[in-house]
């Protein structure tokens, strides 16, 4: 450090040492702001990414549904769009709902890079076992494709997808569903479709996704068996797509919809409401945290202003000795920055401590079957952003009185003292 800079820093430190209590209060203000900013950001982004991993990663990134975004036009509407005569009462053709003949569509999807696709057929069935009847959703899957797009097999606590092939009619039950039926692996249930078709199925596995509503109402069987049970041969009602790059979901969904025609919904579109809530929540919390930092900046402004007022004689004499305005500005700006810098360092420690504390709290959320720690993420960017915001606020809070101090006319002060 050069002599002049060391001198300026020395003068600034002397000023600060002269007002220890007020300086400490200002530093505590910055520390609180930075600490809470980090903790809030860690908690918010933690819960957000936890939501994404729990809900969105557990479900497909793009779902191709057996419906169209806009209903197809009737031939007469297509041919005579602007006709003067309107035909009323044209009844659409009564078609069985579903994605027919999914094979070529799956082949087309397989040809797209970074994409894994799996068809399913979902229907409502009634499961009976030992006098108990439970309505549930039965999902027909192709195990080989399904394991590439969902975590169902990973979440299995007993059996595996391959066990579906080991018996005539295998079925995998959600943990909660098995408990409701008092069934276990090896139990043989009767499965009845809404059309009255019934088959006997043997429980070959149990799934515990951690999401209570899912586990209490979902079961899985081979796609072909479900198509037979629901009397919808060669039809699926969803194609689930998983992407190598989850952020591309919206674009990929658009491309698939253009190519296949069926409504393709990205996870962002499917969860748009939740993501909007996250965005609003982030704005609210960051506004509160920003408010804390602004209050802390006012503390710094107050103390630097007080020092400049008290040290008016020193400023005058330093200027009469030959100090430049920029030297005087640097003295007081450094004081603000020092308080901001120390507050930031302490705030980082407090923020880290709060994150550890919050991360250790176990909570029981009704929607999830297991108690979970508060989701907190440790992201260096949070520390850098909070620190940069605090130091910027401190710089502004220091600069304004510093500029005023630098402009003081030494003659006015010396005359005032004389």
């Amino acid at each position: 450090m050069s002599y002049p800079l060391r001198l300026i820093v020395g003068i600034a430190l002397t000023h600060i040492r002269g007002r220890t209590r007020q300086t400490a209060l200002s530093v505590i203000g910055v520390t609180t702001g930075v600490g809470f900013a980090i903790a809030m950001a860690a908690l918010m982004e933690g819960s957000q990414s936890d939501f994404i991993s729990r809900i969105i990663d557990a479900t497909p990134h793009v779902v191709i549904k057996d419906e169209f975004r806009n209903p197809p036009l009737q031939p007469v509407q297509r041919e005579f769009a602007d006709a003067a005569v309107a035909l009323r009462g044209v009844k659409p053709k009564d078609e069985l709902r579903g994605i027919r003949n999914p094979g070529p569509k799956l082949a087309a999807l397989d040809a797209m890079p970074g994409i894994a696709a799996a068809p399913i057929l979902r229907g409502q069935v009634v499961l009976r076992y030992g006098g108990k009847e439970v309505a549930a959703s039965l999902i027909g899957i192709e195990p080989k494709r399904e394991r590439a797009v969902s975590q169902v097999e990973t979440d299995m606590t007993a059996g595996s997808f391959d066990d579906l092939f080991g018996t005539a009619n295998g079925i995998i039950l959600g943990h909660g569903l098995a408990r409701k039926l008092a069934a276990e692996v090896g139990s043989t249930l009767s499965v009845t479709s809404p059309n009255g078709v019934m088959l006997k199925a043997k429980v070959v596995g149990l799934v515990d996704s951690g999401i209570v509503s899912l586990d209490e109402g979902t079961s899985y069987a081979l796609l072909k068996k479900v198509q037979v049970l629901l009397e919808r041969p060669n039809i699926v009602n969803e194609i689930r797509v998983r992407l190598a790059d989850v952020t591309q979901a919206r674009d990929v969904a658009g491309r698939i919809e253009t190519r296949i025609g069926y409504r393709s919904e990205s996870w962002q579109e499917a969860n748009q409401g939740v993501l909007e809530v996250f965005a609003i929540r982030n704005i609210i919390i960051y506004t509160v945290v920003g408010g804390i930092l602004v209050v802390a900046a006012f503390g710094i402004f107050n103390i630097v202003s007080t020092i400049t007022f008290e040290k008016a004689h020193d400023i005058a004499i330093l200027k009469s000795l030959g100090f430049r305005e920029s030297d005087i500005r640097t003295v007081f700006l450094f004081e603000g920055l020092l308080m901001g810098g120390v507050g930031t360092l302490l705030g980082w420690a407090v923020g880290y401590g709060l994150c550890r504390l919050l991360g250790s709290i176990q909570i029981q959320v009704r929607a999830f079957s297991e108690a979970a720690a508060l989701p907190v993420i440790y992201e260096p960017a949070h520390y850098l952003i909070a620190g940069a915001a605090a130091i910027s606020a401190a710089a502004i809070a220091g600069y304004l009185p510093a500029r005023r101090a630098a402009r003081l006319n030494p003659v006015d002060i010396i005359r005032g003292a004389a």
């Binding site: 050069s2 001198l7 020193d314 009469s320 000795l321 030959g322 100090f323 003659v411 010396i414 004389a418």
Partner: protein, 236 residues
């Protein structure tokens, strides 16, 4: 080729300073003054006569409304604020009625402040220079004391030591004995006289005290911002 030593350290030509306002106030009006190198000049006059205002103009702490001030051959009108500050740091020393020592720093640290701001010397050289000045003013033993541990005379001598830190050829003193008893006032004035006569610095001191002023080489009396009497440059 040797650098010519300016014969006249300070030249003021028709210098005026008027404070603007609803009713303009004239502090200094049409002052013509030439002070030679090594002269010890006392500026006298009643309160409000413009003595201090003239000193602040000569010290570049204020700017004249009209007229020209040349210091050490440098026309100061051409200097911007930073250049004026640099000129003060290297070539002007100030002593005020109040010592204005920085209270948190020791005497030695106060003397080191302008030395460190100017730079160009090693730390040891700066310390040696500061201790030399303090010794020449008889306050070397007080170097580790803070201003509040000094008497009035000691504080003023410490302020003179700080003003001399960068070896300025011009020393400007504004009522340097105004807060001192007669013994300390004599002592401080003797120091100023010695700086002019032995070290050949140009010393301009504003004072009310005519008895002390009589000990200067030259006396300039002001009234209502104008020079009303000038005893003239000494013959030496």
């Amino acid at each position: 080729m040797p650098v010519p030593v300016p014969v006249r350290a300070i030249v003021a030509e028709k210098v005026s300073r008027v404070l603007p306002g609803a009713v303009a106030t004239t502090l200094v009006e049409g002052v013509d003054l030439a002070i030679g190198g090594g002269e010890f000049v006392a500026i006298t006059g009643p309160s409000g006569s413009g003595k201090s205002s003239l000193l602040y103009l000569l010290g570049l702490l204020d700017r004249p409304t009209s007229g020209r001030i040349v210091l050490q051959g440098q026309d100061t009108a051409a200097l911007d604020r930073d250049q004026a500050a640099a000129f003060r740091l290297a070539r002007l020393g100030f002593v005020f009625q109040f010592h204005f020592l920085l209270p948190e720093f020791t005497v030695a640290e106060n003397v080191l402040i302008p030395l460190r701001r100017l730079g160009g010397r090693t730390r040891a050289e700066m310390r040696e220079r500061a201790e030399g000045i303090l010794a020449s003013l008889g306050i070397a033993a007080l170097r580790h004391r803070r201003p509040d541990q000094l008497s009035g005379g000691e504080r003023q001598r410490a302020a003179i030591a700080r003003a001399l830190a960068n070896d300025p050829p011009i020393l400007l003193a504004d009522e340097p004995t105004g807060n001192l008893d007669s013994r300390n006032a004599d002592l401080v004035f003797a120091v100023l006289a010695r700086l002019a006569r032995e070290e050949h610095r140009t010393v301009v001191a504003v004072t009310h005290d005519l008895a002390l002023a009589a000990r200067a080489d030259r006396r300039v009396a002001l009234m209502d911002g104008r020079i009303v009497e000038d005893s003239g440059a000494p013959s030496r």
